[in-house]
C-alpha cells in the first residue's frame, strides 16, 4: 500500500532564502562597489601587461607607467595644479549659466501655454543644431578669449536642463494639482508647493546630463586659443608629440566625469530624501 504522498507523486521544491531586503549600509568597499570597480581595474591591468610585453607599441600608445610619470611631471611643474582649476572654473561657469537659463525657460514654458507657444519651437530648432557647428561663428562673434569658451559651454548645457525641466513641469500628476485646489492653494502656492517639488527629480536628471555635456563642451572650447586648462596641456603636448601627456590629460577628463557622477548622486540623495 502506497502512502498518500506517493500516490499524488508531488515532490516539493525547496525555495531559496535570501538576506536581501534586510537593512545593510552600503560602504565603499561593499561587494557592489567592488564589482563596479572590477572592469576598469582589469582594463588597466591588461593595458599594463600588453604594453610591457610589447604588444602595444609605445609610439602609438604609451604604457600606464609612462602616463603616470607624465602626470607626476605635470604635477611637479605646477601645470596640472593650474590647469585643473582653470578648466573646472570654465566648465562650472558655463554650466551654472546654462542650468539657470534651462530651468527658467523650462519652468515658464512648462507652466504657461503662452510662453510655450512663443519659445518652445525656437528652442527645439536651436537644440537640433550641434553646438560644435557654432564654434566658427562664435569665434567671429565673441573672439577667441574666455567669453567664447563660456558661451559655447553655456549653449551646450542649456538644452538637457531645459528639456527635462519642461517635461518634468508638464508631467506633474494633475491629481496632485487638483488636490491643491481643493485645499485652497492659489496658483502661486500650487506652483511653489506642488509643481516645482514634483518636477525636481526631472530637473536633476537634466542637470546630471548637462554636467556631462559641460565637460564635452570644455574639450571643444579649450582646443581654441587657450593659455591654461587641460585643453591647453593637450594642445602643447600635441605639438611636441608627447602622447603620454595627451593620454594623461584624457584620463583627467575621465576622472572629472566620474566626479560629476558622484557629485550628482550626493545632491540627489540630499534633495530627494522622499524617493
Amino acid at each position: 500500500m502506497m502512502s498518500s504522498a506517493q500516490v499524488v507523486g508531488t515532490t516539493l521544491e525547496r525555495l531559496p532564502v535570501s538576506s536581501e531586503g534586510a537593512e545593510s549600509r552600503v560602504r565603499w568597499y561593499s561587494p557592489r562597489n567592488v564589482i563596479r570597480a572590477l572592469l576598469p581595474l582589469a582594463a588597466l591591468l591588461s593595458w599594463h601587461v600588453l604594453s610591457s610585453t610589447g604588444v602595444i607599441q609605445p609610439q602609438y600608445f604609451p604604457s600606464p607607467v609612462t602616463v603616470f610619470e607624465a602626470l607626476v611631471e605635470l604635477g611637479r611643474s605646477g601645470e596640472l595644479g593650474q590647469a585643473v582649476p582653470a578648466s573646472l572654473a570654465r566648465a562650472g561657469t558655463g554650466l551654472a549659466i546654462g542650468i539657470a537659463i534651462g530651468i527658467v525657460f523650462g519652468v515658464l514654458n512648462g507652466l504657461s501655454r503662452g510662453f510655450e507657444e512663443v519659445f518652445d519651437s525656437s528652442f527645439q530648432i536651436v537644440r537640433q543644431v550641434p553646438f560644435i557647428a557654432m564654434v566658427p561663428l562664435f569665434i567671429i562673434w565673441f573672439g577667441i578669449d574666455e567669453s567664447f569658451k563660456i558661451v559655447i559651454i553655456t549653449l551646450a548645457c542649456i538644452f538637457p536642463v531645459y528639456i527635462n525641466t519642461y517635461s518634468g513641469v508638464r508631467n506633474v500628476d494633475p491629481k496632485l494639482v487638483e488636490t491643491g485646489r481643493v485645499f485652497g492653494l492659489s496658483r502661486f502656492q500650487s506652483v511653489r508647493q506642488i509643481i516645482l517639488p514634483a518636477a525636481l527629480p526631472a530637473v536633476l536628471v537634466g542637470v546630471r546630463y548637462s554636467m556631462g555635456v559641460s565637460l564635452l563642451a570644455l574639450i571643444v572650447a579649450e582646443q581654441v586659443n587657450t593659455e591654461n586648462g587641460i585643453g591647453h596641456i593637450i594642445f602643447v603636448a600635441t605639438g611636441a608629440l608627447r602622447i603620454d601627456i595627451i593620454t594623461g590629460a584624457i584620463l583627467i577628463y575621465a576622472v572629472l566625469g566620474v566626479l560629476v557622477d558622484i557629485t550628482m548622486r550626493f545632491f540627489e540623495r540630499r534633495l530627494l530624501p522622499w524617493k
Binding site: R181, F183, Q189, L272
Partner: protein, 251 residues
C-alpha cells in the same frame, strides 16, 4: 458705487441662499457632456450633519456631482448653493510624495494657523500617532487614506465629500475605516456625502441613501434603524434587494 454686489456666478456653488440648516441646496442642476446629460435637472438638499450615501453604477454621474460640489467642475445650468468649508477625500489618497505626512495634513493651511501639536492630534485621531514624520511612500494604502482623512478633517469642514475613499482597500482595512469614518463624523459633525458603489457600505453607514441613475435620483431613502443594529437587521435584505434592483444588478 464702491461695493459692487458680489457677482453670483450662477453655475458655481455659492453659500448665500442657504437656510441655516442646509449645507447643500441644488435646484434644477444639469450637466451635459456632449449629447449626454450626466446630471439631468436634479434637486438635492443636504442638511447640517447629515450622512448621505450616494450610490450609482459607473458613469452614472456621481463623481461629476461631487466634483461640482467641490468646485472642481461646473454645472451647465441650475441653481447651486453650498456651504463654504468643504473637504474632499478621493479614492486615491493623493498625498504629496515629497512632503512628510504632517506637512501633507497641513496642505493649504497657513503656517501659523495650526500647530504641529494640532496636526499630531489629528493624526492620532485617525490612528497614526507618531507617524507625522514619515514619508508617504512608506505608508500602506490604508494608512495613506487615513492621512487623507486627517487632512480633510483638520480644517473642520461643514461638508465632507468622500469619493469612493475605500474602494481600493482590502476588505479588513475597509471595515476598520468604516468604524473610523463614523467615529470622526460623530465627533466633528460635518455633513457627509459618501460616494460608493457598495450597497452594503451605504446601508451600514448612512442616514440617507440616494441612487443616481441616468442623471436623476431614482431613490432617496432614509435609513432610520440604529447603525449598531443594522448588521443583523431584518429589513437589511429588503433594502439591499431594492437598491440592487435600482442599480440594475438584480430584478
Amino acid at each position: 458705487m464702491t461695493a459692487t454686489a458680489p457677482s453670483t456666478l450662477p453655475l458655481e456653488p455659492h453659500d448665500d441662499g442657504l437656510s441655516g440648516d442646509d449645507v447643500v441646496k441644488l435646484g434644477h442642476v444639469t450637466k451635459t457632456f456632449g449629447e449626454r446629460a450626466i446630471l439631468d435637472d436634479i434637486d438635492l438638499t443636504i442638511r447640517r450633519g447629515e450622512f448621505v450615501a450616494l450610490l450609482g453604477a459607473s458613469g452614472s454621474g456621481k463623481t461629476t456631482l461631487l466634483r461640482i460640489l467641490a468646485s472642481l467642475d461646473h454645472a451647465n445650468s441650475g441653481d447651486l448653493h453650498v456651504a463654504p468649508g468643504r473637504s474632499v477625500v478621493f479614492q486615491d489618497a493623493r498625498l504629496l510624495p515629497f512632503q512628510r505626512v504632517w506637512r501633507n495634513v497641513r496642505l493649504g493651511l497657513a503656517r501659523g494657523s495650526i500647530s504641529r501639536a494640532d496636526i499630531d492630534a489629528a493624526l492620532g485621531e485617525v490612528g497614526l500617532e507618531g507617524k507625522g514624520g514619515r514619508w508617504p511612500k512608506t505608508l500602506s494604502g490604508g494608512e495613506a487614506q487615513r492621512v487623507a482623512l486627517a487632512r480633510a478633517l483638520v480644517r473642520e469642514p461643514r461638508l465632507l465629500l468622500l469619493d469612493e475613499p475605500f474602494a481600493a482597500l482590502d476588505a479588513l482595512t475597509r471595515i476598520k475605516m468604516h468604524e473610523l469614518v463614523l467615529r470622526l463624523w460623530r465627533r466633528h459633525d460635518p455633513a457627509v456625502l459618501f460616494i460608493t458603489h457598495d450597497v452594503d457600505e451605504a446601508v451600514l453607514l448612512a442616514d440617507r441613501i440616494l441612487v443616481l441613475k441616468d442623471g436623476k435620483f431614482v431613490v432617496d431613502l432614509d435609513v432610520t434603524e440604529p447603525r449598531e443594529a443594522r448588521r443583523t437587521w431584518a429589513g437589511l435584505l429588503e433594502i439591499r434587494r431594492q437598491l440592487l434592483a435600482e442599480l440594475g444588478v438584480v430584478h
